[in-house]
Symmetry: C2
Subunit: 338 residues, 2 copies
DNA sequence: TCGGGGCGTTGGAACGTTCCAACGCGCTAG
DNA sequence: CTAGCGCGTTGGAACGTTCCAACGCCCCGA
């Protein structure tokens, strides 16, 4: 027993067959005699043989791995999308390789590079801040599917998104139906998802003839960003009764800001988020939100990747999924005019 | 330009040098002349050359990768530990390869196998349900550090844990100090972390002479499990005024159960969690908890892995970190006896 | 003038696997 | 009785990289 790992050759020697036959047996080929198979598997077991994944992917020039770039792991929304991705990837006998960029473009570039160095056969990008150039460059080397933003296009890029503009409008319309008029918006910052939801907000306000009540402060999809932006809004216009916040995490922050400003939710102030993250259903005040089918988006993305892997000429898709209104504890009819 | 990727040989041909020199130049060796380096880097750039990680780790016999097994990604606690791990791993110029087992032992075995096939140089295991045999087997192939449970030992295994027994006791003692006596416990189920926190609870109750008020229901570290267990406790003994819940996620569930049982938190019922997960600080009712230094635990684990990689004979450590009481919105003095 | 040393450079071997063409054997059909 | 076939098996080449021993060259000192 030497210091380093046993190889296929060691197994072959021990079983008294050739390395080729060991290779076949290990992979479960049916063209190996029962006798040989048995001897080989026993030898492998006795030696503690473990196939070397690097040598494998070098020899067959494929890694059987899908790379996934996530914005970060703290927003549980990404975990939900990832569950959908993993389900499909595993069903295909592939593995996922997961990296996060923490919203830092330089770091996202490094992580993406590492994935491509690993010869991932497909790439799923789930990061609202993503630099389009990075995605386009990656798409020259393998199929790329971008989740949650549709504004990055190019050769080899498919997308899976929600109907963010419409969802933005619907959030407003539901508040209108509850009698709210002074509805303000905490945006998601400088990225397409945020911009779309904001656009939906603005359009719905205009359609309702409430242009003059349009009021927006920039958040950044984090809880603290949402809290700060909501605080600024409540200071700018104390008469606000409705708040459409760009995502659930920020909306949770907005709830805190509301209470700090002595507004009780939902009786004084209604708050709506986006995403439907599972943790927002917890706590004493469960969040009203525009739910996105997160796992389904993950599954759709993975399926598209495999479609493109198996037939590279298959058309690029631009999937869109539907968000739905989920009223919970943070919305109520507008208070009577004061 | 063939259909497949350019290799080091293509770069060499284009730059008019040998592949060996390209290899050196790409890795930034200083024994390459300025002239050659320039020609090589230009050629590589023009061809879109990308080093093949599989070939590299095969030739090197090292992957420069640390494997991390996470229980799952939905509990943000794991993301926090992971942040600490990544910080150290990146500082060493290594990469992390992340997998999750979702608490399924069979799946954890598969994922661990895949990591070992990839020749990870070290392994960090963060999963309370982990099968000890898996860890022990893995430890025969590379350094293993287990986070959050100290009961798995063996050759090649180090641990990084919190002082769970003491933390369990301290949670009780803080409630005692607030005047509570009927303090019940939602446990974390069949694993060591849960068992330790429960033990701490029991010991503190006994020390306080409150043996007869010891009351435990089993949760499973999830929000729904915590909710159900808390509901059972409140039904078994309506006079409970304090609830020590095995982790924050379950404690959030317990808050919901309390409200469903018409108990207001914290005036009727005080609730304490464990972990200090960041999302528990959100919402209208921020959770009182025994905080663990999660990122620090991640850093400690990664540092221990590298210590063992660089000097394999270095001693196995059993790090313990300190949990601290963090009073927030879910605890209050005990209500007067009814 | 020549020998030696350093420096930039080189080809070949190795890493552990998969693929491929080809082998020998026994069996069957002609 | 033999040609052909299928089956289980085999060695060698390939995958893209790193490492190593050795090369030629130039410069310096003797």
């Amino acid at each position: 027993m030497s210091t380093s790992r046993p190889t296929i050759n060691d197994v072959a020697a021990r079983a008294g067959v050739s390395k080729s036959l060991v290779s076949l047996a290990i992979r479960g080929s049916d063209r190996v005699s029962e006798e040989s198979r048995e001897a080989i598997l026993r030898a492998a077991d006795e030696l503690g043989y473990r196939p070397n994944a690097a040598a494998r992917s070098l020899a067959d020039r494929r890694s059987r791995t899908i790379g996934v770039l996530l914005h970060d792991l703290h927003n549980p929304v990404f975990a939900q999308v990832l569950d959908g991705v993993q389900e499909i990837v595993r069903a295909h006998g592939y593995r996922t390789m997961l990296v996060t960029g923490h919203g830092d473009s330089q770091r996202e570039r490094e992580e993406l590079t590492a994935l491509l160095d690993f010869q991932v056969e497909g790439l799923i990008l789930i990061s609202h801040g993503l630099d389009p150039a990075l995605a386009q460059q990656a798409a020259r080397e393998c199929p790329v599917v971008i989740v949650m933003r549709h504004d990055i296009t190019g050769r080899g890029i498919s997308t899976v998104c929600a109907d963010d503009v419409r969802a933005g409008s619907e959030a407003v319309e539901e508040l209108l139906a509850l009698g709210h008029e002074r509805i303000a918006h905490v945006s998601g910052g400088d990225n397409r998802v945020g911009a779309d939801r904001e656009l939906g907000y603005r359009e719905a306000m205009i359609r309702a003839g409430l242009d003059h009540h349009i009021l927006v402060e920039a958040g950044d999809f984090t809880e603290s960003g949402g809290r700060a932006a909501a605080a600024r809004l409540l200071e700018r216009d104390p008469d606000i009764t409705g708040l459409v916040v760009a995502n659930d995490l920020s909306a949770l922050g907005a709830v805190v800001a509301a209470e700090e400003a002595d507004r009780s939710v939902p009786s004084d102030l209604s708050i709506v988020g986006f995403d439907g993250m599972s943790l927002a259903a917890l706590g004493s005040l469960t969040l009203t939100t525009m739910v996105q089918p997160l796992e389904q988006m993950g599954r759709a993305a993975a399926e598209q990747v495999f479609r493109r892997i198996t037939s590279p000429r298959s058309p690029l898709s631009q999937d869109q999924v539907i968000s739905t209104w989920l009223p919970r504890g943070t919305t109520a009819p507008a208070p009577p005019r004061g």
